[in-house]
Amino acid sequence: MNTGGSASRHVAITGATGGIGAALARQFAQSGYLVSAIGRSRPALDDLAASHERISAFHLADIADGTACADTFVKIRAANGPVEILITAAAIYPKAFFLDQDAGHIAEVLRTNIEGVANSVREVLPAMLERNFGRVVIFGSLADMNPMPGSLAYSVSKGALHSLSKGIAGEIDRDRFPNVLVNEFSPGPTRTRMSDGGHAPEDIFPMLLPLVECGSDGPHGRFFQEGKEIRIGESWKAALKRVVLRR
């Protein structure tokens, strides 16, 4: 069994200057991983890089800018080698009621929250396939199921990530690249700039780690919330097939 458990592996984290991203960067580094932290805030990046010798910081002002994103990942490869694990935690969550939004509001949120994820995955996936090793954990949410007032654009963007994650996973040939796994992960409510209640940011690392350390028989194209799998939109036929075939 191919495992992902080797602690010297290279993990890249987008949104590393956010609450959860920064906590993950420190905890991965403390566990022996080599961490490339990607974020928008230069001071926060500097703090992060100073906090642990295995963290290096990479500034990226707009992850939805494909060229800028590609340039950043070129620098990351040059400094730390190919990315073996990608955690996409970059997202924006501006609160605004629908009727108070201007015409560009939704587009801006979708750009960062969807295109930003797609851009970063596109940069790391080819090298993962070539080496038949990779773990991609896309930060998702079930906000799309019941959008809260004022969180419309965010909810729409997170809904799109379900199909983005599953779609990327589905295009990976399981026979040829069995050890490249792409999953969606929702931390649940967490105390960050985006939310006032819920988990401490440090609680997320142990919930997420199984998606990184699992072997090639680990999950692929699936959704996990707080460490538990949730089967979004599974038909009864698919459920039956899963139970019968014990997949």
Binding site: M1, N2, L125, P126, L129, E130, N132, E171, I172, D173, D175, R176, F177, P178, N179, S216
Partner: protein, 513 residues
């Protein structure tokens, strides 16, 4: 392959060219199939890119026919579009020998049709080079073949398990190299088989020759969804072809040159359906001498199954292309991973050979066994060899009308004992080549590869023993050419696609003067 390559060349030379294609563009959505259909593997024409009806297969004239799934593409690019991509050259020995079973089997009691080629290999090499240039290959040279000067791009990297297999072969005195593959690899390539992949990495005549020619404004028009209704030869020597253009409209065109490139199972049936093509009587060898490679498929298990990943059309060796004068084949990566359906099919074939036709129920019953076996084969690499067949006059293709009034491809084909003996010898050689890695054979000895039909309008030096001359022109029919695997004089120990393209270039040169 042949039709597209030839049409592109004729168009680029300034000749007004009309391509009449039976297939239409494939629809994006494959038709819905029931669970039972999927499990028993009833024929799936895949939204119109595979031949639509099952073949009728029988062992001898008059015996009962059984249906078989055709392994034929339909539509621009043909079979090479959905299968193909193994684009190796045949060898000098193929062109310089007339293989007869008596040369190695004292018990042989019949002669194969004369199967030397009318062209010298040195001339063929020029055509191969040109075809390779059109299609674009990756791979490395065969260290055993001094004639192999193919222009090859860098193939994808090997996984550690493939490296181990290479080391094993070398240690056993074999000479592995990277097989010649017509895929412009992109990251994550699935090396698709059986369907057209939208990434379009796989080289075939349509995407590498005809489409580029049309984009360069060559005077080529492509008519799809065409059904021929009549062919006549006018007093001025021009061919007049009338066809239904797919809308029910009859269209008639006249041209001084007419090329048939419908493939070895269809070109002879067109000649039989329209005898005006050959002056009213059908030449005796049309449809006869049908050859299929014997499809050897076997699994080699490397020591660490987890080290086996990545691209799969990667290795080949030709140490046993010939063995003691017997025509054998290149051994190459199959490029596919063992799947439940394939294994169930194998088990059913075994049962059928043991005199137990399990039919559709059997297919259903074998499926779970196949699913268990799939796990077993997950860590194995599948290899294949297209063992040479010899042309026998009674192996043939004809047209038969079924009970529903539809014309079907009917194949009469009997595997000779001499072929089975060569298969068994080849298996010994393969076990020896990969030893001590375990080798498990998945195909019954002498299983014809229905995807490689050849030789049904043979090429030769005289009309007594062949249908076309060395340039693909039908004997005695000025301006009528054939440009597909029908013209193969022998079956070659390699996939037919590159040779089809090379011969099409030669025929195009003759046409364009």
């Amino acid at each position: 392959m042949g039709g597209s390559v030839l049409a592109a060349r004729c168009g680029e030379a300034g000749l007004r060219t009309i391509v009449l294609e039976k297939g239409s563009d494939p629809t994006n959505l494959p038709p819905k199939r029931s669970l039972i259909d999927k499990l028993i593997g009833t024929h799936d024409p895949r939204g119109g890119e595979r031949w639509p009806a099952e073949l009728l297969l029988r062992r001898s004239e008059g015996s009962a026919a059984r249906p078989a799934s055709p392994i034929l593409g339909i539509g621009p690019g043909g079979s090479a579009r959905i299968y193909g991509s193994a684009l190796g050259r045949a060898q000098r020995a193929d062109f310089e020998n007339d293989f007869q079973p008596l040369q190695w089997d004292d018990a042989a009691d019949e002669q194969a049709l004369p199967n030397g080629w009318p062209t010298a290999y040195s001339e063929m090499l020029a055509d191969y080079r040109e075809a390779e240039g059109v299609l674009g290959l990756v791979g490395t040279h065969d260290p055993l073949d001094p004639d192999d000067d193919a222009q090859l791009g860098m193939p994808p990297e090997l996984s550690p398990a493939h490296e181990e297999i290479v080391e094993r072969l070398r240690a056993n005195g074999r000479h592995p190299y990277r097989m010649h593959v017509g895929i412009a690899y992109k990251p994550g390539c699935t090396e698709c088989q059986g369907v057209t992949c939208p990434r379009d990495c796989k080289a075939h005549g349509f995407n590498r020759a005809l489409v580029p020619a049309m984009e360069r404004q060559a005077p080529v028009s492509l008519e799809k969804g065409v059904t021929l209704s009549s062919v006549e030869k006018g007093a001025n020597g021009e061919w007049r072809v009338t066809y239904d253009d797919g809308t029910g409209e009859e269209v008639s065109v006249a041209a001084p040159k007419l090329v048939l490139a419908a493939g070895a199972l269809n070109t002879p049936r067109i000649i039989e359906a329209f005898p005006a093509l050959t002056g009213g009587s059908v030449p005796p060898l049309v449809g006869r001498g049908l050859m299929f490679h014997s499809s050897e498929i076997f699994a080699v298990t490397p020591s660490d199954p987890d080290a086996l990943y990545g691209q799969r059309k990667v290795l080949a060796f030709r140490d046993h292309y010939l063995d003691k004068g017997m025509p054998m084949a290149e051994c190459q990566s199959l490029g596919m991973v063992g799947k439940a359906g394939m294994i169930a099919e194998f088990l059913n074939n075994r049962a059928r050979l043991a005199g137990l036709d399990l039919g559709r129920v059997g297919k259903l019953a074998m499926r779970p066994v196949g699913m268990i076996a799939e796990q077993q084969f997950a860590g194995s690499e599948l290899f294949t060899a297209a063992l040479q067949d010899l042309p026998y006059s009674d192996n043939r293709v004809t047209t038969e009308t079924d009970s529903e009034g539809n014309d079907r491809i009917a194949i009469t084909y009997r595997v000779r004992d001499e072929m089975k003996q060569r298969v068994l010898r080849f298996r010994e050689l393969m076990k020896d080549a990969f030893a001590p890695l375990p080798v498990r054979f998945l195909s019954p000895a002498g299983e014809p590869n229905l995807g490689h039909p050849m030789g049904t309008c043979r090429m030769g030096t005289s009309p007594e023993h062949s249908v076309v001359d060395g340039d693909g022109q039908v004997w005695g029919q000025e301006g009528l050419y054939i440009a597909d695997a029908s013209v193969f004089a022998s079956s070659l120990g390699i996939n037919p696609a590159l040779t089809v393209a090379a011969l099409a270039l030669r025929t195009a040169r003759r046409i364009t003067g």
